[in-house]
Symmetry: C2
Subunit: 351 residues, 2 copies
Amino acid sequence: MDKNITIIQIAKESGVSIATVSRVLNGTVPVSPKTKERVQNVINKYHYTPNPLAQGLILKQTKTLGVIVPDITNPYFSTLFSEIEWSAHQSGYSVILCNTAFSAVSYASGEREKEETYFQMILDKKVDGVIIAGGQIDLCEISDSYIEALKRLASTVPAVVIGRKLPDIPCTFVNKENDNGIIMAIRYLASLGHKRIGFVGGERGVYITESRLSAYHRTLLELGLEDEPEFVATSDYYMADGYNAALHILDCGAPVTALLAMNDNVSLGALRAISDRQLSVPGDIALISCDRFYDGDYLTPRLTSLDRHNDMLGRYVIKLLLDEIQGLPAQDAIDFLPELVIRESSGPARV
Amino acid sequence: MDKNITIIQIAKESGVSIATVSRVLNGTVPVSPKTKERVQNVINKYHYTPNPLAQGLILKQTKTLGVIVPDITNPYFSTLFSEIEWSAHQSGYSVILCNTAFSAVSYASGEREKEETYFQMILDKKVDGVIIAGGQIDLCEISDSYIEALKRLASTVPAVVIGRKLPDIPCTFVNKENDNGIIMAIRYLASLGHKRIGFVGGERGVYITESRLSAYHRTLLELGLEDEPEFVATSDYYMADGYNAALHILDCGAPVTALLAMNDNVSLGALRAISDRQLSVPGDIALISCDRFYDGDYLTPRLTSLDRHNDMLGRYVIKLLLDEIQGLPAQDAIDFLPELVIRESSGPARV
DNA sequence: CTGAAAGCGCTTACAG
DNA sequence: CTGAAAGCGCTTACAG
């Protein structure tokens, strides 16, 4: 490993004081052109950059952000993260990514940790700001210890939470509206003649699931469509869950002709289940994904889905956070309208 | 924001010197039980943790690692990363994730940056170690500026590179063997009676593609199977690429009865293309994925694939890096044997 | 425009 | 077992 070269060596070799080196580095105070050039040459020669630890100690900032997600393996979060990282990078920030719960390893072995532990860890790192996407914040019932930890975190460092608003916590909450997409999808299916529409995937007790389910029930009622308990099967957000949920609905004989799936992974699993029961999409059952992960044009059948424009969310959230860090006035939260992209998987109801 | 509480306040409130507080914090030097308890109480009261910037300045370590990937949105990298992050976390390290090239935004707008920029940035952060997975290291021709930057990085901080070995660079290289899987897959297809086997996806000029292609050609030769130029169509690693590549092969009339696809995304795209030409898998064409991303059991058809055990790689790589950081002797690189998991998509050749 | 000096929050010999 | 002091690598008033 190379010896770390410091501002002292640069100063020595340039024949100036460290204060002057610091000044040409930061450009805050005028330095005479000739000394500036001399110093700059030495800096370049060694590829010198100031030690951020020392800088951070004085400036009280690390130019580092923390991002906490439950599962980076989930396309929703990896897409979100890549937007966040890119935007942060543009503004000179690095990001520490904490994957709280669902690493294949930790999941398999049951050795996962509480998110609160990560909150503390990220605080210890003295990051300049934190983004929390998903996790316990999405639960309908949130533990006291989580709330307390979030409160402590938010009162120490600017924090943006992607999730629904919690009272008395000084975070910026960005909550995505869930109802409109569901309503659009169901109306569309109804217009195709479907009268018995099911819902698969998602997890009971999770806010996004519950709110979509309630929009689902409300819309069925509004349109005068059948609403039977066996039309709904939840479980979780992955392929296996879509498979199990759809299989359950089919096997208990629920006469659905269309299915709303929580997201593309759930849709893929549902597709597999439908196929295992010798039924086809869209021939026997119409399928719509409520949260686009992949480009539906490349799936078989091409998947009709709600594009919730998750890709815009990352940039938006970073802007909120950086504004807050820089003490700019808080922006109003905007909502991205979902878009129903109609493809093959949603056909007319068979008569 | 809360005022930052420092070791000085803790010392003051405990009635001891800051040296003593530091000692109970680190437990390196014995402290009398009663003062220890007194100090510990004050620490707990304020949830005090030492400022890592100050610590890092003295200890010359940040307990932070840098991980550089080209596209966290790609399941290969997100799985790898989640293992890395988890293992690092277990050992008390945080990780800064740099996504160098393919954020949807940067990709669309063409405003991506050179990986070298990220190398410098990660160095500036004074991380304790770096893992580089993919990117330019995978190209057959690597630019001088990249090599120089990698050299500088590696001579400043321990670095593990997932990619093939480059001469004269003090990194630990972990190179995954590519041939065996391809050989297994082709032998299996041959045993099923397939005589004309194609290859889709991957990008020319990328090491992993070229080495798989050469294993492909070698095996065809060895088994005395036809090897025509139009049996191969490369492009890239995503669904759209699999679609275009497979369509190209089908439309130029190549009489293949089986297809090897670079990975699951390419397979999905190929499936779509095959279906668009009114052909079916495995009825008309057998399909094997050379790199498992998803659980093939939930795809339709269930996808036969090579499981290269990418999920083990992350843990292994972290162990290599942490050993190096701690000055332990370098381990021998191990190779994970690929496993051919046979499912529905690979059927016998039609007579 | 430039330098000497204080100070950011810690750890660790060095004495006692 | 414990404290006073030096020092990690910087930035920034404060003088000049």
